[in-house]
């Protein structure tokens, strides 16, 4: 173990899921304040900053704007913006900056007033009108009325065609995550659901039903990373970044090279190799659940099961509360919150579990966690392995 090994020392959330009184800036500020309080660092200790704008706030919430708004005196900044997985990419980038000494304390903030400001448009709209011409690669999709949910639906359809995956197996993912949402007082939807409830919910884009799709909410979060050495006199034990990797296969869904395989097939094994652990060693899985199919593909691609066997894997109960590798223990995007880019919640929940702060949803003897984010349309994947102990 080295003195500059990267660790996560502070986590914080703003409020979710429905917070009309907060705008995006308020979410950033509130989450920052709570993350500082969580670890005992002062705002003036921060010398690195990472942030990505929501995309619907005229860029006033992008990295340079937010660094000014929050008055972060940084010597290192990164505004990488790859959709929901941005924060898994951030852990990789920040770990490298900290290890190499470019900065000592990195703050990551996120804030979104998507539900209150924009409404439930993200998954089921074509972001264009006949009045304006569509620039760039979206021009090869917009004219045919695809929606975000449709892209994931086409991945699900192809997976069903190639491997016989069923709607019941996808539904099981939503049912298991909802059970954890029932234990999270802040979750957007908490009542238990069954596989039949999912199958009987309205079809949005075949074969994905309403309950195969994540919620749309408001929300925000922050986490703070520093060195193993700096963490020694802070409020809580550090969580170690044991391995991280990121990759991209496409951006627009029609350019996806293989509709049943994501870039997690590259960055998943890379992250595990860097951490020196295997998927079967993981105690809790925090995986991006924009849609049920997202979960299935990422689990397969990371190596939790063979390609095509995701359906049987989720059916085995291993991901459920009380299972061997409980998944999305905060209720996930499927039930708890999804303000547009959910990746930060995966990191924070993994840290909460590794600290043993999970309350009713605490995973027993939790020492190793994986957070795997998907951004764009199954496009940009980041995998992060976190541990209660550093590398031996």
């Amino acid at each position: 173990m080295g003195s500059r090994d990267p660790v996560i020392v502070g986590i914080g959330w703003s409020d979710y899921p429905v917070v009309p009184e907060l705008d995006a800036m308020d979410h950033h500020a509130l989450a920052l304040r709570r993350a500082l309080a969580d670890c005992g660092l002062e705002k003036s200790d921060i010398d690195g900053y990472m942030c990505a704008g929501t995309g619907f706030n005229s860029n006033v919430d992008d990295a340079p704007n937010m660094a000014e708004y929050l008055r972060i005196k940084h010597r290192w900044i990164d505004g990488t913006s790859v959709g929901g997985s941005t924060f898994e990419f951030y852990v990789q980038h920040a770990a490298s900056a900290i290890e190499t000494g470019l900065c000592d304390v990195v703050l990551v903030t996120y804030g979104s007033d998507m539900l209150s400001r924009v409404g439930r448009m993200l998954g089921t709209s074509t972001f264009s009108s006949a009045a304006t011409r569509v620039q760039g690669p979206s021009g090869y999709e917009s004219s045919w009325g695809n929606v975000l949910a449709g892209g994931y639906a086409m991945a699900a359809r192809r997976h069903m065609y190639e491997y016989g995956t069923t709607s019941e197996q996808l539904a099981e993912i939503a049912v298991g995550v909802r059970e954890f949402a029932g234990l999270n007082p802040f979750a957007q939807y908490r009542d238990p659901i069954t596989v039949d409830d999912v199958l009987n919910s309205r079809m949005i884009a075949d074969p994905l039903h309403k309950l195969d799709c994540c919620v749309i909410s408001d929300g925000g979060g922050a986490f703070i990373m520093t060195t193993n050495e700096r963490a020694r006199d802070l409020a809580k034990p550090p969580v170690y970044v044991l391995g991280s990797a990121a990759a991209q296969s496409h951006w627009t869904i029609s350019q996806m090279p293989d509709f049943t395989t994501t870039a997690a097939a590259q960055c998943g094994p890379e992250a595990f190799a860097r951490a020196g652990v295997r998927p079967e060693d993981i105690d809790t899985i925090q995986v991006y659940d924009s849609f049920t199919i997202t979960v299935l593909l990422l689990l397969e691609d990371m190596g939790f099961c063979e390609k095509g066997e995701g359906g049987a894997f989720v059916d085995s109960g291993v991901l459920r509360r009380g299972g061997k590798q409980p998944m999305n223990t905060d209720g996930g995007g499927l039930s708890a919150c999804h303000p547009g880019m959910r990746g930060i919640f995966l990191i924070n929940e993994a840290v909460r579990q590794l600290r043993g702060e999970g309350g009713e949803s605490q995973v027993p003897d939790c020492e190793l966690a994986v957070a795997c984010g998907s951004g764009g349309s199954l496009s940009c994947i980041g995998t992060v392995i976190l541990g209660k102990e550093g590398k031996s």
């Binding site: 089921t124 569509v134 917009s142 449709g150 029609s254």
Partner: protein
């Protein structure tokens, strides 16, 4: 989605803004011809049009596409909050794999939704949407 209905609603669709690499593609489609790029160095076809071959960074030329392909995957859009498409729901969005090996997104038209299945043979239908833009749609192959 019938071809008549398609023609009536064509004006509701957002159209692409051709760029240097794609101008010939969209213009050809408006004139009833489907073309794709092929690398002059490595021979790989690609779609969408770009200013380089994504396989080898070589230069590309235009070749006529056969206009035939198969359905790689699809979905039925049941809900689209955008006004242009709300009235058209439900409709089929699919990924068509052309005989040249490239894939494109389109609508599968001129057949019942129930007839649609992965792997079905398709043929292109090009509709002029503006002077500089034609849109390819795909329907079940005849013969």
């Amino acid at each position: 989605m019938s071809i008549e209905g398609l023609q009536e609603t064509l004006g509701l669709r957002a159209l692409p803004a051709p760029d240097n690499a794609s101008r010939h593609y969209w213009q050809s489609a408006a004139e009833g011809k489907l073309v794709v790029q092929r690398c002059t160095a490595c021979g790989v076809h690609q779609f969408y049009p770009r200013s380089l071959c994504t396989a080898c960074a070589g230069e590309t030329e235009w070749v006529d596409a056969s206009g035939r392909g198969t359905l790689h995957t699809y979905t039925v859009i049941r809900q689209n909050r955008s006004p242009a498409f709300a009235a058209l729901s439900p409709y089929v969005v699919g990924i068509v794999e052309l005989d040249e090996g490239v894939r494109m997104m389109s609508n599968i038209v001129d057949c019942d939704i129930d007839e649609i299945e992965v792997g079905m043979a398709l043929e292109v239908l090009l509709l002029r949407a503006a002077d500089d833009v034609g849109l390819p749609f795909w329907r079940p192959a005849t013969g």
